[in-house]
Structure formats: structure tokens, C-alpha cells
Symmetry: C2
Amino acid sequence: MSERSLARVATPIPRQSNLGELSYERLKEIIIAGAFPPNEKLTVRSVSAALGVSTTPARDAINRLISEGALAYVAPKTVVVPSLTVEALDEITATRLAIEGLAAERSVLSVTPGDVAGLAQMQARIIAGLDQGNYREVLKINREFHFTIYRMSGWPRLVAIIETMWLRVGPSFNALYPAFAMNRQGVANHLAAIDGLNAKDGAKVRAAIENDIRDGYVRMKAMIESQN
Amino acid sequence: MSERSLARVATPIPRQSNLGELSYERLKEIIIAGAFPPNEKLTVRSVSAALGVSTTPARDAINRLISEGALAYVAPKTVVVPSLTVEALDEITATRLAIEGLAAERSVLSVTPGDVAGLAQMQARIIAGLDQGNYREVLKINREFHFTIYRMSGWPRLVAIIETMWLRVGPSFNALYPAFAMNRQGVANHLAAIDGLNAKDGAKVRAAIENDIRDGYVRMKAMIESQN
DNA sequence: TTTTGTAATTTGATGCAACAAAAAAGATCG
DNA sequence: CGATCTTTTTTGTTGCATCAAATTACAAAA
């Protein structure tokens, strides 16, 4: 009894699962996976047909992704996955350093030994994935690793903002794989973050995450510039 | 010819003005103005009737405000303006310090003497408003003052995130007026920001804005706690 | 071949009806 | 009088037809 009511209270956002929500989730995954060519038109009817729903939930999904910055208008009736420019990357990286650094620093306030063990396990899977060349898996667990730390901040609104940041770099990030999968430098950053969490040293966790973001920035920037 | 094509390229977001957009803008203003009692239900049909549009644009507006955090589900079919808790205020304030500080620091990169003159003029209107007890006007210009600085960062995505932050504190901020209108302490912070912009001293502008946010936090927190 | 004007098509927005689920009101029983 | 069950009303969602606007395709002229 008290367990069930607690679970309801603890639920941050009791957003019901409707077709618009499901369409949004699926379309978001498709975009993050980099499966959608940048600058290619997305129409309500094409999404509607692809997902097997009517125009209303398809339109809902597109509108929500536009408001989150994952999609953008380039002309009055033309919605596309925006291609990441160097200018956009600069802006997003600076913002990420500020807010992901904040979340990382706060993570030590609630971290438990079990949390650290879980992160260490993820890290082991990342290393195994790198050894096997399973880069898709590496990117997925990398994301899980980061957000596990961010969620420890206990600040769901902050985590939600961070998610929209990842939604903007994700498509380029994933479309360019495997050139972009984490390298051994990334591994070192993750290990430093785990060390910092063990020592409950917020500054160290922040520094590790910031380094990870900066390393990714350098490689992503080189990648974008080589595309031109 | 080249002028027209340039204008099209320069346009950041060619979001067309449709009924959904207009409904969103109007509903947002109503919410920010604090005119809507927190925890009171908002229904699609009531918004539809109030704005004189059909259910579709009304639903679009509500959904968008939910995704921006200005509205929230408290039960499966119940959408309300969320009342600001101390915990939410803590989280939002920390996030604001990080991102508004970042925008403020960058503002010196593009500031012009004309910009500073404009801010000084706003500040004069704020002081006049305080003298006349016209607190509604003071709050409005205060917002304009801050966003003028933030926009100087040249980072529209960052400004958009800041706007969603203001959208979350705005209702409580405005609902509690005139108790909440800026005091002379706020004036000092603004003058310090102007000084920093004149000297192109990013750190000083950031410090001034951070102080302004902290001063507001202290008063807002006291206000929330006195409500219980 | 390039440009320009026009027709055909595509497309998002809008309003609305139908439906299912939830909430509110009312009734019944202990 | 209070609790529980039932009925009624409210409400969000979904699908779809219609319309205006924008895009595309095409043809004609330079």
C-alpha cells in the first residue's frame, strides 16, 4: 500500500504513454542513431506512414523535437535534422561544460558504493566493446555512463537539459561512427571520474567529465572540418 | 537579389506564425504574468475557448509549454502551472548561475557603445519605475535588461535555454509582485554589469549577474517559505 | 542551356467528430 | 453518517477531411 503510493509520488513526470509519446521516442532514437541524413526533409505524412500512426501523433512528435532543437525549420514547410556546424558545436560544447560540469560536481553528494560498482561494470563493458570493435555498443554504454552520473545530482530538470544537448550532437556523433567511438583517452577520463566518485571529490569528477567533453570536442571539430 | 538571399540565410529560425504559435505566445504571457493560479487545472477545451481557437492549436500550445517545463502533469489528465518548491528553486538557481553566468561573461565579446547606452536607458526606466511604484513595468524592463545582455553572447541556443529557466520562475516571480519587484540592491548589480560591459570585463559582468541571481534567490526563497 | 512563368502536387494547419479513459456526481448499502 | 459502487460528465487522444500555402515539375521563351 504505502509502497505503491510512494512509487507514484516518487515518479517525477507521470507523462502518460500515448501514441504521440511513443512516436516521439521512436523518432528520437532514429535521429540520435544518426540514421537520418542531415538536411533531408521530414514530413508529417512520411513520419506518419513510417511509424504506422496517423498524422496527429506524427505531428506531435515532430513539433516536440523541434522545440528541443533536434529538428529545425530551414524553410517555412521544411523540417530537417540540422547538420552540426563548428559554430553550433562551439556553443553547445561551452554549454555542456557548464551544465554537465555542474551535474558531475554534485554527483558526489548522493553517490553510493553500489553506484560506483555499476559504473565500473559499464566501464568494463566499454573496454570489451572497444576490444571487439563493437562501437555502436560502446557509444550506447558511454551515454549510459554519463547519465548515470548526471542523475546522481538529484536534479531532474538539469538532466533534462543535458539530454537536449546530447540530442543535438548525437546525430553527428553517431552518423560518423566508428571513427567517433571512444578511444583510450576517453577510458582514462571515465576512470578518473570513477576515482573521483570513490573519493567523493566533486572537483575531480567535474574535471574528468570536462576533459571527456573537451576530448570529444576536438575530434568532432576535426571531423566536421574534414567534411567540407 | 543577393540581399534577399542573404536575409533568408541570416534568419535564425523562420518559424511561421500560425495559430498554434500565437496560442503558445499568448498562453505563455498569461502564465509568466502570474495570472494563472498554480495547481489549478488547465484543460485543452478551456484554453481553446479562452483563446477563441479550436482544440488543435490549444493542445499544441499546452504540449509545448509542458515540454519547456512551464506546465506539468500532476496526474494523468491534469495539467497545471507547477508551484515553485524550495527544492526546484535551488536547482533552477544553480543552473541559472551556470548558464546565465556563461552568457554574461561572453557578452563583452560583441558589446558596442550603443548597446551600453541602451542598457543605461533601460536602467533609468527601472529606477523611474521604482520611484513611481510601477512594479509591473520594473519587472518587464528587468527581463529586457537581462536578455539584452544574454543575446550579446551570440549564442541563441543558450539564450533559449535561459528563457525556459525564466519561464519556470516567472509565474511565482510575478504572482508575488509587488513584494518582488527589484529593490535598490538589484539596481547596484545592474550598474556593476554596465560598468563591466564598458570595460569589456567579462568576469565583472558575470559576477554582477550572478549577484543579481543570488539576491533574487534569497528573496524568493524567503517568500516561498513564508507561504507555508 | 538557362531562365522565367505556370500548372500540378505536396504539405502543414485547422477544426471537428468519435472514442476510451478518467474524474465527478450521485445513489445505494452498511 | 460514512463508505462503496454505479452512472454521468468531462477530458485527452486520435484520425481524417478540408483548405491555403509552399514546393516541385514542367513548359515555353530567351
